[in-house]
């Protein structure tokens, strides 16, 4: 999918009808229902997760993996073009 820079991966997924992103709290780091596994090629390019995001990943319905992030916290940039993320089998 193609999205304007600045769009979060969560917002892009919702807009494009990706059902595996629930986004219960609306993107404020209170739930873990927009959890994704980021492709290793891109993981290192992302700004590091905040303490708040780190905490939320602890409660993910599918246990966090080394490249876990919340998609509401990943803002698309030109450099991230081609980003691939996988969606866990459940979010709740």
């Amino acid at each position: 999918m193609e999205v304007p820079a600045g769009t979060t991966v969560m917002a892009a997924a919702l807009k494009n009808g990706i059902d595996g992103i629930v986004a219960e709290c609306g993107g404020v780091c209170m739930c873990s229902t927009c959890h994704v596994f980021v492709d290793e090629k891109f993981y290192g390019q992302l700004p590091p997760a905040s303490d708040t995001e780190e905490a939320v990943l602890e409660i993910a319905a599918v246990e966090r993996q080394p490249t876990s992030r919340l998609s509401c916290q990943i803002k698309m940039t030109t450099e991230l073009g081609g980003l691939t993320v996988r969606i866990p089998e459940k979010q709740r």
Partner: protein
Amino acid sequence: MGAGTVIVGTGQAGFQTAASLRAEGYAEPIMLIGEEPQIPYQRPPLSKSFALGQQDFESIQLRPQNFYQGHRIELLAGQRVSAIDRSSRSVRLESGRRIPFEKLVLATGSRNRKLPVTGAELDGVVYLRSLEEAIAIRDHLKNVEDVVVIGGGFIGLELAAVARTLGKTVTVLEVLPRLMSRAVAPIISEFYRELHTAKGATVVCGATVARIQGRGGKAESVALGDESQLRADLVVVGVGVVPNMELARDAGLRTGNGIVVDEYLQTEDENIFAVGDCVEFPCVFAGARIRLESVQNAADQAQCAASTIVGRRNRYTALPWFWSDQYDLKLQMAGISHGHDRIVTRGSAEAQKLSVFYFQGGRLMAIDSINRPMDHMIGRKLMAAGARVTPEEAADESVDLKKLAHSAGAVHH
């Protein structure tokens, strides 16, 4: 194909019921009916980033318009259900149209409690629940100088922070002796009183409002019980809500402090469920029948009812959690603290990193955290799993809560 499920209410609970039914594989028709003219949207931002002008309507929609067709959810926005006919299993719209159902889910939400004083009808006296009200507040904030907030609860304080951020003169009036007193411990109330004061707002607790005065139909000042006067060209009222339960009551269903449901969120009519703000339900964490107003409660109850409707009968046992954003601080709450007999803390108010752990009879029942997100999230795991945490452990920073959660087997929520 049968009549399927009719959902009354297009807020978070109604939306989530429809979405969860489809996610659970429900194949029957779904009709989502609500009085609000818009497609379902998030309410939390209305008192935060939306009021500040940082988010627009599109960015707070729960899903884009095409989600509903794509998931065969028939959305009837701007339509009021006027009655439930239980014998024929149908609802009647105000337009006269009858809609049959196999299952009915009431997600009717709540409405703002009105301020019972003279002058409350003046222009410039505003409440916040709907998008329209949020737009009105956002627009007023462009043109006013003096804002008086009546009610020192979450909505009032969030809007007070927005108004101060926009440079307005702000006074918060709370009738009780401290802020957010229904929800948090005195130490948290005091922290937020100091925060708002430091940001330049005036906070008056124990204040009663005698009347709102105006000229030419517009609010100009608020008169307090002691006859002092406060200039106000905008009066924001946030004094709580009342559940919308008339539809259920008129259909002969039991109501109390909300539509009465059992642990399956079913009313006494097994084909009629109720979820979200409008519901009085047995809460395992409170050990009592309570009513909650939160996104968590709306979404989790919706999910629970949906799973029972598709045939996986499911008790509602989710841990309550909530948040409030005021200035750049996030207050996170988990569990139900009502009835606690002991509190211990981690961190400090001075550092603006503070958690309060609430205990009853030695059992951890709730945690409120300011800028200590790990305490909140791990606390949610611990409490959901019923893990044992002593007050001594909670108070001791050297005890890693994560380890306690793992040893309790509380890996997933």
